[in-house]
Subunit: 161 residues, 2 copies
């Protein structure tokens, strides 16, 4: 009986320590499920981008008047779903005959109904002028609508060589 | 009596319409006080930047391991308060003998304890190599701690000429 109690105590201590370690391991009190969902939403953007798939790209974004798109080729940025998403991506997917963009997240932070992902993009593509290759710093911002994380801002600009 | 009731009804309708217009005028249900506080926190960053004031700059930022600083001159970005704030700004304020940066916000969005400001920066400065001048796209992200909005991410990169 003593031995069983001791084992139970050890098991409880171990569970508590695991819980504490899990808490200490996250930079802030953000639900792991949200962070995973944000990672998935962020990955879906790059799948849509590399597939040059307008429909998949539309599904990534929030349909809001304040969404912002700041891309590497832009000299003025696009605001609102119509300019930043509905008009922008079909034109971009015409401009690039091929496109492959991978993103390495450095930080994925979720707090309430907003999340942001910061990192580097590595892009290769083909336009009518030939092949292009560039790397960027990127900040992607998402808002949670119901149980879906939707992109509200995409800011990617080339890293100076 | 009828006239008084009619006037009361008109007053109620007017108040309702004003409320509806105020609601329609904001892109999302964000408290005006938060938006104003975020504008002030964002402005404080540019005051500190243009004054090259390390102490004021420290006061703008959250002291978190996940803060990110992606500046126009960087080839790798800085993560964590130590690298992104405590070490970065004194060095930057040494590099620039003079600096004047103004920011024009296009979008100021607050949702719960996160806010983001997107827009353009216009910068002039003097380094030991002479005068510099550039414009950027910028995304600044803030988190609310208690009643203070603190910067957790600054991403500014030059607009291609």
């Amino acid at each position: 009986m003593l031995r069983r109690n001791l084992l139970a105590t050890v098991a409880t201590l171990a569970a508590t320590a695991t819980g504490l370690m899990a808490f200490a391991g996250s930079a802030s009190a953000q639900p792991a499920a949200d962070v995973e969902a944000v990672r998935a939403a962020n990955a879906a953007f790059y799948v849509a981008l590399s597939a040059r798939d307008v429909k998949k790209m539309e599904a990534v974004w929030a349909n809001k008047p304040y969404v912002v798109n700041m891309g590497p080729r832009m000299k003025t940025f696009a605001v609102g779903h119509d300019e930043a998403v509905a008009k922008w991506w079909p034109a971009a997917f015409e401009f690039f005959q091929e496109l492959n963009v991978t993103m390495t997240p450095s930080q994925v932070q979720a707090n309430g109904k907003v999340a942001w992902v910061v990192g580097n993009e590595s892009a290769t593509g083909v336009t009518k002028n030939g092949p292009v290759k560039f790397t960027t710093f990127v900040t992607n911002i998402f808002e949670k609508e119901g149980d879906r994380w939707l992109m509200v801002s995409h800011h990617a600009q080339p890293i100076p060589q």
